[in-house]
Symmetry: C2
């Protein structure tokens, strides 16, 4: 096992994303199952039940090792369903005893945002690595404490930006780096979904104390993050306008819709919107001097595509479907074993939080422009490292 | 002939846009060719040569009666090509003598924007009706003088917003009025093209004195206009950010890219961008609480479509191609004969000018929000009247 990261581009492997991503799995399979990383999944909401736990049945470098839930009955039922012994069930009180369970290497935090910091820091104290859902937390200060705790424990913290590990978006980033669109002018993102107060997985998102924000924090973050990874630069100014019907019982504490604009040092502009009262939409497009890239949908769990528009008979990218969550967990399994780079560490999550907070600050001040510190730089460009893992 | 405008909806005719639009032509054909309206086309640039003159060969209610050009050789050649006698050629100096030519009922002004006001007012003085290309003029004051001159002469002034007479956009408006998207949340428009200084039809667009604005005035206007006719309301606040590379020889006096945001009384937001250094793009989408409407392309001369996204097996609109320019000229032929409403009179052109000037003002003031007078209301909603003309 080596920790050298070869920067061989996924495209150079000659058969696109799927082959490249499969390559890692094949390499791993050759090393034997014991190298697979044990995951404790914290929180048994819709995302865990519908996506993460099923995906962990198909992963090669990751497997389900424990469940953490505040609902004992639900936890027992799910554990039985996935063949876990009851000893692998934890609750929020005895969570810290995971320190004594060597079968757990990674804690995947799938909790309301307000609980991210606490459980991340407790996980690090227990000696575990952390994969944490987006948005990273509720406050910037929490993000900073999470990063510091990971460093103090010498453990990895990865924010679950699945699109940074997902072939359609990675292919788009690669097209951007190759200059396919020419000079990038604008990235537009339209992100939204329909929320339902009676759905427990929505209810906490509609509670400012638990979510830290409405549509922007939950869905807009995909657009903000995509704009950054497509342009491969960081905004220097942002502003936003919001629109919320306060008579709608869903929007007593969080915003419904925010539209944002961002300015980048290259001169490119990012604009977009996020809304909690529209059908599920995760669309983005890049407008360049020569071509556009259009992805609609671009960030769904599946069925995404990216189209090149405006050129002359450009071959269209052909990207095979993968399991986004399984791939991400396999990837982080490799990260903690030193076989792959952590493309979306805590600092990446903090950067989106900074931008979103600046947009919310702008909204609170009637849309005034808010300047941003430009110091952050991504450690790894997903376009150049994703799909490449070192051999065992 | 009657001047009653029946508000029978195009859709109610049972076979969509094409049939409805054809109906007018059929009705006219029954009245005999002498009722066809004679057009003087002023300006023989790319738009006239490539679109307008060929379209006038296929119109039923309109025919080419004269050419007005500053280039006598070109005018002679074009006149010969279209079978016009040399007596039907005018230049900018003797233009006013069209008053003595009863074969001309309409003047179609296809000149640089800075010449619109002058030629419109001269046309009215000559007793003619005016179809004027967009944007309406360079200044708001010019627009007001154009409107006043039309009223004084008791002649029609129509701004050539072909998309307000074009089935894909009219169908989209009708879907909006029917509530197909639910509550409208946001309209996003991406409008742009690649400009070339060495192309005479671009050169004047890149000269602030002749154009009155860059990408916003030339291409963004489609997005502004579409946002308004899709939402069927008027913005109360706007703002913009621009980005122009002043080292690019094309952009010495006009802007390259402007991104705008508009707020509407309903709470809907309009955002979009316009750019003079990107491939031809005329895309818009409406985000509603239930569905989206996506048109990409939405405002090209042909090949447009509108898609309903986010519903469950909604039947997709099927809209047949028509000749946009021919249809528009036929329509105005009916307007001047009292058989169809003037859906896009001077006031409609002035309203877009007001909005664009407010956006430019915002850009000049670092993106500050500019409030707009909300008094303007469209006289006719294209969604309810287009496609319906009275019988002869």
């Amino acid at each position: 096992m080596t920790d050298t990261i070869t920067r061989r581009n996924m495209m150079e492997l000659g058969a696109g994303a799927t082959l490249a991503l499969t390559t890692g799995s094949v390499l791993h399979a050759q090393t034997g199952g014991q190298a697979s990383v044990g995951y404790a999944v914290v929180g048994l909401g819709k995302l865990s039940l519908g996506q993460i736990l099923p995906a962990l049945q198909r992963t090669k470098n990751a497997h389900l090792a424990a469940l953490v839930s505040g609902h004992p009955d639900k936890a027992k039922k799910v554990a039985a369903q996935y063949g876990l012994p009851e000893t692998a069930i934890y609750n929020y009180e005895n969570f810290d005893s995971i320190a004594k369970n060597p079968a757990i290497q990674v804690v995947y935090i799938v909790l309301p945002n307000s609980m991210h910091a606490d459980f991340t820091i407790r996980s690090f104290k227990a000696g575990k690595h952390v994969l944490c859902e987006k948005p990273m937390a509720v406050t910037l200060e929490e993000c900073e404490r999470m990063i510091a705790a990971g460093k103090a424990a010498n453990r990895q913290l990865m924010i679950a930006y699945r699109c940074q590990y997902e072939p359609v978006n990675v292919t788009a980033m690669q097209l951007m780096r190759k200059g396919t669109v020419g000079t990038p002018r604008l990235v537009n993102a339209v992100m939204g979904k329909q929320t339902d107060l009676s759905d427990p997985s929505d209810a906490w998102r509609l509670d400012m104390k638990m979510s830290g924000g409405g549509a922007l924090a939950d869905m807009g973050i995909y657009g903000i993050n995509a704009t950054r990874y497509l342009l491969n630069e960081e905004p220097v100014e942002v502003r936003g306008w919001a629109r919320t019907d306060k008579n709608d019982p869903r929007f007593k504490t969080v915003e419904d819709m925010i539209a944002w604009q961002m300015r980048f040092p290259s001169g490119a502009i990012g604009d977009g919107s996020s809304c909690f009262s529209q059908p599920g939409t995760m669309a983005w497009q890049v407008v360049g001097s020569e071509r556009r890239l259009v992805a609609d949908p671009g960030c769904f769990y599946g069925g995404n595509s990216v189209r090149i528009v405006g050129g002359r008979n450009d071959p269209q990218p052909q990207v095979a479907e993968i399991d986004h969550f399984g791939n991400e967990m396999d990837w982080f399994g490799d990260v903690v074993r030193g076989r792959a780079p952590n493309v979306s560490p805590g600092e990446e999550g903090l950067q989106d939080m900074r931008i979103m907070h600046a947009i919310m600050q702008s909204v609170a001040n009637g849309g005034q422009t808010v300047k941003l510190d430009t110091a952050y730089r991504r450690t790894y460009d997903p376009a150049t490292v994703v799909g490449v893992r070192t051999s065992a």
